[in-house]
């Protein structure tokens, strides 16, 4: 195990380990891209990356800073548009999608539209982009987010992206191809969702983080697993790949 790693690198490694060999993965730039590339270079060589812009099974020689950059095209297996990529998502063909947002609630619903009133927002964000489609269509989703009280809220101001809605079978009843969020990786710990209630709970704490810290930074009384673990640490090889092969210029892994 590596003793030298940042929290961003830990989050990336945890997300990468969630990808199984052969998975079809909808990715964006940033940590999800690094997680996918890391998975492909270690335990999941047969996984396929898809960008919602239309690039399928990409092999870029430089790190793309946008999901639709020109460097994604040469070497890709297939290039189309939103129809081709998100069509596959809508059909339920993708195993994993990555999500983020300004707010998340206890059922994994995400907000990337507004803080405040929808018609008169205090803050207006980007909107859904492909997030809503990814949450509806991908079999499982992985959410990577900073852990603060302003983000982990009791109720999001606007549901952009459906998680488990109001819990229990409220999501199942709507008939999505995708089953919902599987994992939330923050800078404090790893959260999953209870199988019955669909409520978020803390599965593991990152080294240096405490239950108190998690509770202080969550705006609801978040459940803690009976068998709370410590998050599995990255290996020396995983860190080496991230630092020396995937992001040597530290475009995404900016933490020291």
């Amino acid at each position: 195990m590596s003793e030298d790693f940042t929290l961003q690198e830990l989050q990336t490694v945890i997300a990468a380990r969630e990808i199984k060999n052969g998975d079809m993965v909808l990715i964006g730039t940033g940590l999800p891209l690094l997680a996918a590339r890391l998975a492909q270079m270690t335990h999941a060589p047969d996984m396929v990356s898809i960008y919602e812009s239309g690039a399928i099974d990409t092999k870029p020689k430089i790190l793309p800073l946008s999901i639709s950059e020109t460097c994604l095209i040469p070497g890709a297996a297939m290039v189309g548009g939103l129809l081709e990529a998100l069509g596959l998502v809508h059909a339920g063909d993708l195993d994993i999608g990555f999500l983020g947002g300004a707010q998340i609630d206890m059922y994994g619903n995400l907000n990337s539209h507004v803080i405040g009133d929808y018609h008169n927002p205090t803050v207006r964000f980007a909107g859904s982009g492909g997030a809503n489609d990814i949450a509806s269509g991908c079999q499982r989703t992985i959410i990577i987010m900073p852990h603060t009280k302003r983000r982990f809220v009791k109720k999001v101001d606007f549901i952009t992206t459906p998680g488990y809605l109001t819990g229990r079978d409220s999501r199942d009843r709507l008939g999505f191809p995708g089953k919902g969020p599987a994992l939330v990786v923050s800078n404090l710990g790893v959260m999953r969702f209870e199988p019955e209630s669909k409520e978020m709970y803390v599965e593991s704490l990152h080294p240096g983080a405490s239950i108190d810290q998690i509770k202080e930074n969550t705006d609801w009384d978040i459940k803690i697993a009976d068998q709370l673990k410590e998050s599995t640490l990255p290996t020396v090889e995983e860190i080496r790949i991230l630092r020396h092969e995937l992001d040597p210029d530290r475009l995404f892994l900016r933490e020291k």
Binding site: S53, L65, G81, L82, S128, G130, T161
Partner: protein, 308 residues
């Protein structure tokens, strides 16, 4: 035709306009011309918008936006858009929020003459419960009439008056060839009644005919073809030049304040009369080497045999 003439003749105040491209294939040449000509009361439509919308909104050209996304990804916020939404600067705008796929489906329905398309996207989200101006006609939840028991979100066709995009090449008739990521174009422009396009090169009809699978828009829909090399800068055009990442980071930094945004616009939009002057200014400011550094490497596709 020049960009000035094409925009003057084919884009009118009050129209619904598709702005083609998805980070790639966006015509900033035509966008800046729309702004310079002071077009007003536009409803602009695209699955994903970046600073082309930010600039049109800040300039007061836009009343309404139909979209899934308006931001600059990891580069940062579109501040003029935020000022309009949060503070009503320069005036209030309305935005009808969809998702990337549901926007693409709205355009596809429009292009195909289908009145609506049923989807799984949007269900369970607040996009079903909130509307800016479309009200009940934004999206409807309807049970599958073929008896599966599943409810789907029905999105209505979107058929804008005019659409524009940037592409690598077209012939003079208007057969447009585009490669690289297509985003929601060509559906978003095919759904329009009229299309104008800016291209890196105008080629012959014979050249088009050698690779007809590459054509994304057939000529009968295209009202104007404008030759505008570097028409997509600061974004890229596959095979010609890549994105200017520094320019984009700089845009975000400069436009955080209203004054900064106005300075940027005076420098790059209002302070140049056309795209040629824009490029000359770019070279004068950043140097010829920087201009050349953006040029694409040669990665030829090889050719395929269309013989019979």
């Amino acid at each position: 035709m020049t960009a000035k003439e094409a925009v003057s003749r084919f884009i009118q105040d009050g129209q619904t306009v598709t702005v083609g491209g998805f980070w790639h294939a966006i015509s900033y040449a035509l966008t800046h011309e729309i702004i310079r000509q002071g077009k007003k009361h536009l409803t602009i439509c695209a699955a994903g918008f970046n600073e082309q919308a930010d600039q049109m909104i800040g300039a007061g050209c836009v009343d309404r936006v139909v979209t899934s996304y308006l931001w600059l990804e990891v580069f940062g916020p579109t501040y003029a858009f935020r000022r309009a939404m949060e503070k009503g600067i320069p005036h209030k705008i309305e935005i009808e929020d969809y998702s990337n796929f549901s926007m693409t489906m709205r355009f596809m329905a429009g292009a195909l003459g289908i009145p609506y398309i049923p989807l799984n996207s949007l269900k369970g989200s607040d996009m079903m419960n909130y509307s800016a101006w479309m009200g009940d006609n934004k999206v409807k939840l309807v049970e599958d009439p073929f008896g599966s028991g599943v409810q789907h979100a029905l999105v209505p066709a979107l058929k804008p008056d005019v659409g524009y995009l940037h592409a690598q090449r077209a012939d003079e008739e208007g057969n447009v060839q585009l490669w690289g990521t297509l985003g929601d174009s060509p559906w978003s422009v095919r759904a329009c009644k009229k299309i104008i396009v800016s291209v890196e090169e105008i080629v012959s009809r014979e050249d088009i005919g050698k690779d007809p699978n590459r054509t994304v828009i057939p000529a009968y829909k295209v009202a104007a073809v404008v030759k505008e090399p570097y028409g997509a800068h600061p974004k890229g055009t596959q095979g010609y030049y890549r994105e200017d990442r520094e320019f984009l980071f700089d845009y975000v930094k400069r436009t955080k304040t209203e004054e900064g945004w106005k300075e940027f616009m005076d420098e790059w939009v209002y302070g140049v009369k056309d795209r040629t002057e824009y490029i000359e200014k770019f070279i004068a400011k950043y140097g010829y080497k920087k201009h050349l550094d953006l040029k694409a490497e040669s990665m030829q596709s090889g050719s395929v045999n269309y013989g019979y």
